[in-house]
Each structure stands twice: as structure tokens, then as C-alpha cells.
């Protein structure tokens, strides 16, 4: 049975209440919109790149606790990483919340992000957790349009 405490862990609730990097950047290299039509979650993500490295990152928008906490923790995780490292993490994160990667059994770079592993037990909420990572993927791929989880 899915356990609610696995989903709404203290760290997630804390990031929901006090999202990190919840800001607009002055000199963003990339700006990307992402939304989840099902629940109306919406995120504007900005990245400032220094060559290949994510020098600064900020997000704004509104959404449920899962999407907000995921966005917040995504920003703290990608800061200082290379584009390739971010892309790998995004890929692994999306796989994990879909239940396609077991972070305890398989090698991965997720670190603290493993806290979102419980989301896989809540199929209706997978898109909420994945939104910020989908958005950062789209930003790095240079998507012309807003990315949608649909």
C-alpha cells in the first residue's frame, strides 16, 4: 500500500513552504516555461550558464506541494553542475518517479533527490514531481515552446 508519509516527507514539506531559488534572474541565459495542464501547475525556469556550467538558477510559478518541492530541490541540485550532469540527473529522476529506476539498487547520481522515490506509488502525482525536470531538460535542449507534461 502506498504510504502517505513516503510522499509528504518533512524535507518535501519544508521545500514546499520555503522554496529555494524562488526568484527571477537578472541575466538568464535560458528561460523556459513548463506546465502541467491536469492540475494547473506552472513553472518559469531560468538558468544562467557559464560556458558549460549552471552558474545560477531560479524558478517561479505555482503548483502543488510535490511540484513546488521538486522544483526547489531541482534548483539546489543543478547549481554548479555541467549541462551533461544535469541531463543525466533529469533522466534518472524521471525514471525514478515512474518506477523505472530503483535508486537503492541501481547506480545513480540522484543523492538527496532519492527522497522523491515514493512518488512512484502515486501515479496521479508523477507528473507533478517530473515537471521541473522536464522543464530543465527542455531549457537545455533549447525548446522553442512551453513544455507540457501531457
Amino acid at each position: 500500500m502506498a504510504d502517505l508519509n513516503e510522499l509528504y516527507q518533512q524535507v518535501i514539506l519544508d521545500h514546499n513552504k520555503k522554496p529555494r531559488n524562488f526568484k527571477a534572474l537578472d541575466t538568464p541565459s535560458l528561460t523556459q516555461e513548463g506546465h502541467n495542464p491536469l492540475c494547473g501547475d506552472h513553472i518559469t525556469l531560468q538558468l544562467e550558464l557559464d560556458g558549460d556550467i549552471v552558474k545560477d538558477v531560479g524558478f517561479q510559478g505555482s503548483g502543488c506541494a510535490i511540484s513546488k518541492a521538486s522544483s526547489s530541490m531541482m534548483t539546489t541540485a543543478v547549481k554548479g553542475k555541467t549541462k551533461a550532469e544535469v541531463e543525466l540527473m533529469a533522466d534518472e529522476f524521471v525514471k525514478m518517479v515512474r518506477g523505472e529506476l530503483d535508486p537503492e539498487a541501481q547506480e545513480n547520481q540522484l543523492g538527496r533527490l532519492k527522497i522523491f522515490a515514493g512518488v512512484k506509488e502515486f501515479p496521479a502525482r508523477v507528473k507533478c514531481a517530473a515537471l521541473s525536470w522536464r522543464t530543465v531538460q527542455a531549457a537545455l535542449e533549447g525548446a522553442a515552446q512551453a513544455v507540457s507534461t501531457e
Binding site: 502506498a2 502517505l4 509528504y8 492540475c39 502543488c64 506541494a65 502525482r125
Partner: protein
């Protein structure tokens, strides 16, 4: 007039007729509060569907053979049940559709394109479901008509003075919802119709939420069109009804072409069938119509007035109990309401509310309820919505209150 059934409302006996109500979610008995989205089906409706497919299956209006005759008789018998249910003058005024949405699209496309012109005005309200917004917007785009919107006040009631001011010689159609799916407001549709008729403007009433909760008499209301869906009145999905006054339907061109809607076809000229078949192209949802007829009989046997009275009790109880929880804000506090309790809790996102309630076995809708303009009006991205049916109980509402307290605990 409907005859009153016994005043005793035996909810336990009613619940026993709904197989879905014995389901469990996360090890807990299902508490189903998403009735405004779709209602459950009693065993008698499921049996009727089974029986059609197992024992009567044939196409209608086509064969001289035994089972085609039987299927046709049942299918047309259901039309008569619908006619009586809404008190239409004739079966010719009862058009089968796929549901409320198709009914509105049919009227917008057929009546709208024939009778409306550039610069004409169509009035809807600020509490419409998207199904009663978008078809009119599409028509406006096609012909250059203008959409006007009756505003709502902070309680979620129509501002009738604004409506009166809005009616003018350019007004050519009014289309409003009887009961709001997002707010529960019961609109004064009789008055809306009177005012429009004073200027010879026809009125469509969206009955998606009124059909399950109110006894509706289309002749008493004097509406020109009335639309509803079977699946919200304990019937199958994929079938619904468009009622239209005969003299209007007769002037309207067909909506779709195909079999059954024609009288004769040649490559030079096709003549159309009589009402109601003119609007029913192709093999219809035969089982659906028959199942809907059975569902209406089921509801009539309990009595729509008894249902309304019991549901009002539930709503009253829930409004007091849930509305009284510190931090809960009710969205939609109209004086006249039916069966819908929309709410938000502080800044907790309704999807988080929905997930936690689901863990308790409680099904509510969390989202914009296909009524984004309503959400904007109340300055919320979405709400959680508990919507009640006659098979719900006060004990279930107690469980909802407990679960809401749990939500508040988690998000403290």
C-alpha cells in the same frame, strides 16, 4: 405532477443496489464524493444493458426481423420515458445525443449558423462549464457574433441586474447553466427565460447538474432547449438528451449527415427525415438509450423530490461541518445551492488535498472543474470539490471532515 413516494428514505437499501459502493480504496471503503463528475449505476441499469446486448441485440429502425423490432421498441420506449421525465410535449422534441456537450454543440452549430448573424449577441454566464462556453466562442468566430457574459457576485450568484441590462435588440440567444458544477449555485432560470422571451430571444438551459438533483418540467420552465447527460443520472456514459421546442427544431438544419437522418437520398437531392430522427445520424447508442430509460425509471421510483430533499440535508450538514473547520474556505455560498461543496484550505494545493483524501478512500475532484473562468473569478487556481448523491451518508461526510483535519495536520 409527480406522485410522492414513501417519505421514508432508506439509504442503506439504496446503497445495496450500487455495486461500485462496495469497492475499497487503499483498504478503506470507497466514499464517493465525485458525483458531479459522474454518478454510479444501480444494478437494474447494469442488468438492462446486459439484457439488451445478450437478448435483444439488433439495429434499430432497419430490420423487419424480430429482434430489430424488439430493439426499436425498447429504444423508442426509452424516448417516451425521457419525454415524461422532462414533460416535453412530444417525443419529436427528444433528441438523443452523446451527452450535454454534444447537445450544446448541436444547437450552436445548427440553430446558431442558421439564425445568427454578424454583430448579434449571445449571452452566457460567468459560471458556465467549458462545454457551454467554447461552442459559442467557435460560433462567434465563424459568424462574427459577440459573446456577452453575465457576471457573478462573491457568493457565486448571477448578478441579475447586469443580465437585464445586457439584454438588448442585438441579443439573439441566451445559454445558461441551471446548476453550476463548480459552485453548486441553482440559477433563477425561470426568470432568465422570462426576461429573454420578453424580447423574443430563445434560451438553452444546460441541465447537466440539474437533471440528477431537480424535477425539471421543460414546459413549465418554458425553456427552448434543455440538455443533459445520462451518466450523471445513474445511466450509462455516451448518451444524453437534447430537448428542443418542436417549431424550433423543425426550422433547424441537420447537424450531421448519414443513415437514419434521411427520408430519401439520390445524388441530385436528399430529403431529411422527420423529427427527432433528422438529428440522429448513424447507428445510435441503442443500449445507452435503453439504459438511460431504466435509470430514469429508477430515479422516478425513489422520487426526484425525495432525492432533492435528502441531498439538501446532506449539503446542509456538510456545509456546517466542513465550512466550520478552521482554515477551510468554501467557494460558492449561494443561497440556492445543490449538492456541491467546493473548497480550498489555506494555500494547500487541491491536488495535495485530493491525494490525502484518496488515501482515506475518499474520492473528490481536485482541479478547475472545466470552469476556469470561475476559478479566476474567485482568485484560486483550483478547488477541491465534494459533490453528493442520494446514496451518500452523513457518516461519510464525518469521514471527510476527519480527512480534511488530517490534511491540515500534514501541512500544519
Amino acid at each position: 405532477m409527480k406522485t410522492q413516494t414513501a417519505p421514508e428514505f432508506d439509504v442503506a437499501a439504496i446503497r445495496a443496489e450500487f455495486p461500485m459502493l462496495t469497492q475499497t480504496v487503499n483498504g478503506k471503503p470507497l466514499i464517493y464524493f465525485d458525483n458531479a463528475a459522474t454518478s454510479h449505476k444501480p444494478q437494474c441499469v447494469l442488468d438492462k444493458l446486459d439484457h439488451y446486448y445478450a437478448a435483444h441485440n439488433s439495429n434499430v429502425h432497419r430490420g423487419v426481423h424480430h429482434f430489430s423490432q424488439l430493439a426499436t421498441r425498447e429504444y423508442e420506449g426509452a424516448r417516451e420515458i425521457v419525454r415524461r421525465f422532462i414533460n416535453a410535449a412530444s417525443e419529436k422534441e427528444v433528441i438523443y445525443t452523446s451527452g450535454t456537450t454534444e447537445g450544446i454543440n448541436l444547437v450552436a452549430a445548427s440553430y446558431g449558423r442558421k439564425f445568427l448573424r454578424e454583430g448579434d449577441e449571445i449571452i452566457i454566464s460567468a459560471m458556465e462549464h467549458h462545454a457551454n462556453i467554447v461552442p459559442w466562442q467557435m460560433l462567434c468566430e465563424q459568424i462574427g457574433a459577440v459573446l456577452r457574459v453575465i457576471p457573478i457576485n462573491d457568493d457565486g450568484e448571477l448578478v441579475m441586474e447586469e443580465y437585464e441590462k445586457m439584454l438588448n435588440p442585438k441579443t439573439k440567444f441566451v445559454s445558461v447553466v441551471y446548476i453550476s458544477n463548480a459552485l453548486g449555485t441553482i440559477n433563477p432560470v425561470k426568470r432568465i427565460i422570462e426576461l429573454a422571451h420578453a424580447q423574443d430571444v430563445p434560451v438553452l438551459i444546460d441541465g447537466a447538474q440539474s437533471a440528477p438533483h431537480l424535477q425539471v418540467d421543460v414546459r413549465e420552465l418554458d425553456c427552448d432547449f434543455y440538455v443533459f447527460s445520462s451518466h450523471k443520472i445513474c445511466g450509462p456514459t455516451g448518451i444524453g438528451v437534447l430537448y428542443g421546442k418542436q417549431h424550433l427544431l423543425e426550422q433547424m438544419p441537420p447537424y450531421q449527415g448519414g443513415g437514419d437522418m434521411i427520408a430519401t437520398v439520390s445524388f441530385e437531392k436528399t430529403t431529411y427525415n422527420v423529427l427527432p430522427y433528422k438529428f440522429e445520424a448513424g447507428t445510435p447508442h441503442i443500449a445507452g438509450a435503453i439504459g438511460m430509460g431504466r435509470a430514469i425509471q429508477y430515479l422516478e421510483n425513489i422520487g426526484l423530490d425525495n432525492i432533492a430533499a435528502y441531498e439538501y440535508e446532506l449539503l446542509d450538514y456538510a456545509t456546517e461541518l466542513i465550512g466550520g473547520i478552521s482554515g477551510v474556505r468554501l467557494i460558492g455560498t449561494a443561497k440556492q445551492k445543490a449538492s456541491v461543496l467546493s473548497f480550498v484550505i489555506g494555500d494547500i494545493h487541491p491536488h495535495d488535498i485530493g491525494t490525502i483524501l484518496d488515501q482515506e478512500g475518499i474520492a473528490v475532484r481536485a482541479g478547475h472543474h472545466c470552469a476556469q473562468p470561475v476559478m479566476k473569478r474567485f482568485n484560486v487556481p483550483s478547488t477541491a470539490r465534494a459533490s453528493f448523491a442520494f446514496y451518500n451518508t452523513k457518516e461519510e461526510i464525518d469521514a471527510l471532515a476527519n480527512a480534511i483535519n488530517k490534511v491540515i495536520e500534514v501541512f500544519g
